[in-house]
Amino acid sequence: MENVNTAPILDILDVCCGFDRGQGELKVLDGVNLTLNDGEIVGLLGRSGSGKSTLLRIISGLISATDGTVNYCGHPVDGPAEGVAMVFQTFALFPWLSVLENVEAGLEALGVGAKERRERALAAIDLIGLDGFESAYPRELSGGMRQRVGFARALVVNPTLMLMDEPFSALDVLTAETLRTDLLDLWNDGGLPIKSILIVTHNIEEAVFMCDRILLLSSNPGRVISEIPVPFTHPRNRLDPAFRQLVDEIYAKMTARPSADAERKTGLELKSWLPQVSTNLIAGLIETLAAAPYNGRADMPEIARQLHMEVDDLFPVAEFLQHLGFADMSEGDITLNYYGRQYADFGTQERKQLFADCLLRGVPLASRIKAVLNERPGQRAPRERFKQELEDFLSDDAAEETLDSVINWGRYAELFSYDDQAEMFSLEDVEA
């Protein structure tokens, strides 16, 4: 960390953000503190549901926090702030504007004159390696080139702070790496007007590769659980043992047993959000873990690399295995337990039976649906009934997602059937 200037670029104190639900407030962010100094790249690392994108939008002034203060360059943020530019995961380019027009758009909004606009836009396009593509439309460009336009558009307004919302996650591995190194080169050469960069990511290696400091966010609600300085100089080598060591440490911190976090309960509750985890992934992961060379125990970063999965893909599956009682996670390791090994040995029908038992035990929503269906005379219940129950605790989208997840598992386990047309749960075609 180099503290060139004493005044922080950005200072966030006790920021909370939540939505009104039937049973009080649903918190997305809970008491987040964060300071950005001159000359830093800081990473916000967290899993989906940690509210990292929400935090980014609060900083940029796109949405306002329900509580707490956000100071940018000493002034409270109130609406989109000047000198804060954002790069989007989806690029967010206007498809009807050419590259040059897209880059000029931000300047035009600032009221910069036509001639200066053109010069500055061309300079930014030059800087980011897009010359020759000025008159192309976004749809003619590859993903990497489109994100370069996103960068140019952010840089051209000479921002003090650049916010990046998972800027590389929509790109393939090779392209993402090229863009990362190009950006870092510009940053280290001092060719950028930016004083600080804040990157939101769920990719641990990416965070270690780029950032000077990493903030770890917990999920549901999001709060900063750890701050990790990255001591390496650029350019960084991913194969360097120290680099790998740090990646492993962060993995361990993210998989720390819930007991470390007093408020997080071990088991799922009825109101818990359930991630969309396909039953094929569950079977696949269990089989991989059970087979050599892991033989039931694996290092999370290693298995993630081997399966080409990122944190966001792997964690929900691993965690769900834990909830089902198939596996345990600790210190960045995942271990199959008795049921998990049994599952790996079983054939299709036995697997389904075991899965059904574990689902009823480990996922309260599944047992709830089963119980309601058993109680009802026609053994049918509409989706809406459960949705309303969930919506007291979850946002609308999260409630839908949770229901979809449990429907998928319940169908696989043959616990209940579901008619998507009528949006109706029932016990038809299900053996008692």
């Binding site: 009104d20 939008r57 940029s60 002034g61 796109l62 306002s64 989109p80 000047e82 804060v84 530019a85 954002m86 989007f88 995961q89 989806t90 690029f91 967010a92 206007f94 498809p95 009807w96 758009a105 931000g106 035009e108 909004a109 600032l110 009221g111 439309y137 976004p138 749809r139 003619e140 489109r146 047309q421």
Partner: protein, 576 residues
């Protein structure tokens, strides 16, 4: 002409369930129209009958007449665009306004277009007493009512679906509401809007022809144009002149397509949201020509620069705050108050109109009109079914053969745009000649113009049918009836429904002109709601006109709600 596949085919059809606001919107909208027009009629009566221009049947006059018809169409299109932008924006930006505006729009598009004419001719003539301008406005308004609603729906839907990331970009650029409107929302809505403009235009020709010569009670409107030329030809029994009109209209429609819509569509291609380039971008020789010339480019430059400056002006539109700062309770109270206000207003209006109608209509008459409504319903249903039986197999046959489809598709589109009422005299002459039963033989006229929507949508569906499915079907030896039932019919069903919705909407409209036709002094009348409206309009019997229009709107709405929307929903959810 080449087929451009619909991006948003029928935006309104996506709104599935009727909500309780429909029950408010229906009486509200009809009553406002009725009161507005009859109020004016009463206050400003007596009206001098409009000076009737003599229409000469000399074909040499046709170019001038055609020009005036085209200008009317253009004026209506401009009015529709302005209406679309204003109404769509308001509905999309304000939750409370949307509650009323969206159902109102839905009802507005169910009211038969020619019904508006009956109401509004008196109103517009009263607005500009003794001047042709009033009659012009009435005709333009009629065309407007045939164009505006689906454009507005499309725009409203687009406004609501602007991607959040683009919204966030424009917020972080500090764009004001005005700037965002022109920089983001309008461009984003462009493809759907232009497609719907084309559809509107192709429907509009029918109504421009019908609205140029119309009689409402003692107001006879005759505006120089293709439509009045036709009506003159009909009253003089001049079949040659009818031929000239058909030729002129053909040329006009082709010219419109080549000079206005092809360039527009080709230009608007860049607003498509897909981030991949399409294999076949729409092309226009005219646009290419303009893009290549320097002089024309230059001469357009100042205009473009001015427009851009206007769009850039940092005007702050009255912002409706996204997050209302007041507490949830007071906003709920506000909602309730607003709902109560709307309902009370509607009740008041409805009461006034009902009492007005009751003054000239007995309960028996209401029953009779409902009976006539069922007759017309039968006609529409049977003919749509017949047209489907013919055009679905043919459309599939054509659509699965790309070379054939390429040739037939433009023809089908042209036929859909061609105002079928120009062809009515030919049929009428035949019916008169053979002394056929008008109740049966006038019926085909109802779908004469609108059946083509079924054809070209089915062709489009069959062309888009994935080759994999065809190969899989062949591989598993699926043939004959099973092939139709399990493979191709489900595949084209969403397209078919889209076409059939358009066709049936058009058929209801057409019934007003098709159930009562004349040739010289010979009048052919088929029993039905359409002829009832046509007759009462000629007689200027307002209570009966209102009754007829209301019943027809009810039938259209019910037909849509009970038949088409469930089918559309099914197609959307199961077969796409």
């Amino acid at each position: 002409m080449r087929m451009i596949l619909p991006p948003v085919i029928n935006a309104s059809a996506r709104r599935l369930l009727p909500n309780r606001w429909d029950f408010v919107a229906f009486p509200l909208i009809l009553c406002v129209i009725v009161l507005g027009s009859t109020g004016f009629r009463q206050t400003l009566a007596p009206l001098s009958s409009l000076q009737t221009e003599v229409i000469s049947l000399d074909p040499g006059n046709l170019p001038e007449y055609a020009l005036r018809t085209i200008l009317r169409m253009l004026a209506a299109m401009v009015a529709s665009l302005i209406f679309t932008l204003a109404y769509g924006t308001l509905a999309a930006k304000s939750r409370r306004a949307a509650k009323v505006l969206v159902p109102v729009l839905d009802i507005l598009q169910s009211v038969p277009v020619l019904g508006y004419i009956s109401f509004t001719v008196a109103f517009f003539i009263a607005l500009f007493p003794g001047r042709v301008l009033g009659a012009e406005c009435a005709a333009i308004f009629a065309i407007f009512t045939s164009q505006a609603w689906n454009m507005t729906f499309s725009f409203y839907q687009s406004m609501r679906t602007v991607p959040t990331d683009l919204h966030e970009v424009s917020s972080s650029f500090h764009l004001t509401g005005w700037q965002r409107f022109w920089k983001l929302e309008v461009p984003f809505s462009m493809p759907g809007l232009i497609w719907n403009m084309m559809m509107s235009m192709s429907g509009g020709w029918f109504f421009v022809v019908a609205s140029e010569a119309i009689t409402v009670g003692n107001n006879t409107v005759i505006l120089p144009g293709v439509g009045s030329f036709l009506s003159q030809a009909i009253s003089e029994r001049n079949l040659g002149a009818v031929g000239w009109v058909i030729l002129t209209m053909t040329l006009v429609i082709l010219a419109y397509d080549q000079f206005l819509f092809r360039p527009l569509v080709a230009w608007a291609d860049k607003f498509r949201m897909e981030t991949t380039s399409s294999q076949s971008a729409p092309e226009s020789w005219l646009l290419d020509l303009i893009r290549r010339t320097r002089l024309i480019q230059r001469s357009f430059h100042p205009l473009g620069a001015t427009l851009r400056t206007i769009a850039r002006m940092p005007v702050r539109l009255p912002r409706i705050p996204v997050r209302v700062p007041v507490s949830a309770v007071s906003s709920r109270v506000g909602d309730l108050l607003w709902s109560a206000l709307v309902i009370i207003g509607t009740l008041l209006l409805a009461w006034r109109v009902v009492s007005f109608v009751a003054s000239g209509v007995s309960v028996h008459e209401v029953l009779v009109v409902f009976g006539l409504g069922f007759l017309t319903l039968l006609r529409v249903a049977v003919l749509i079914a017949l047209a489907s039986l013919i055009w679905v197999p043919l459309g599939v046959y054509i659509g699965l053969r790309p070379h054939l489809a390429e040739k037939i598709q433009p023809l089908a589109q042209f036929l859909a745009a061609f105002p079928a009422n120009l062809l009515f005299p030919i049929f009428v002459v035949g019916i008169v000649h053979f002394n056929a039963n008008p109740d049966i033989w006038l019926s085909p006229l109802i779908v004469l113009g609108t059946q083509w929507y079924i054809l070209f949508n089915v062709i489009a569906g069959a062309s888009a049918f994935p080759n994999d499915f065809r190969e899989a079907a062949a591989n598993f030896h699926i043939r004959g009836w099973q092939w139709w039932r399990k493979i191709i019919l489900p595949g084209i069903f969403p397209y078919y429904v889209t076409g059939a919705i358009t066709a049936s909407g058009g058929a209801w409209n057409a019934s007003i002109v098709a159930e009562m036709v004349s040739w010289g002094h010979t009048k052919l009348i088929a029993h039905g709601l359409g002829s009832y409206i046509a007759q009462t309009t000629t007689a200027g019997d307002y209570p009966k006109i209102i009754l007829g229009i209301t019943v027809m709107s009810l039938f259209v709405i019910m037909f849509n709600r009970l038949l088409w929307r469930p089918m559309y929903a099914y197609a959307e959810s199961r077969l796409r």
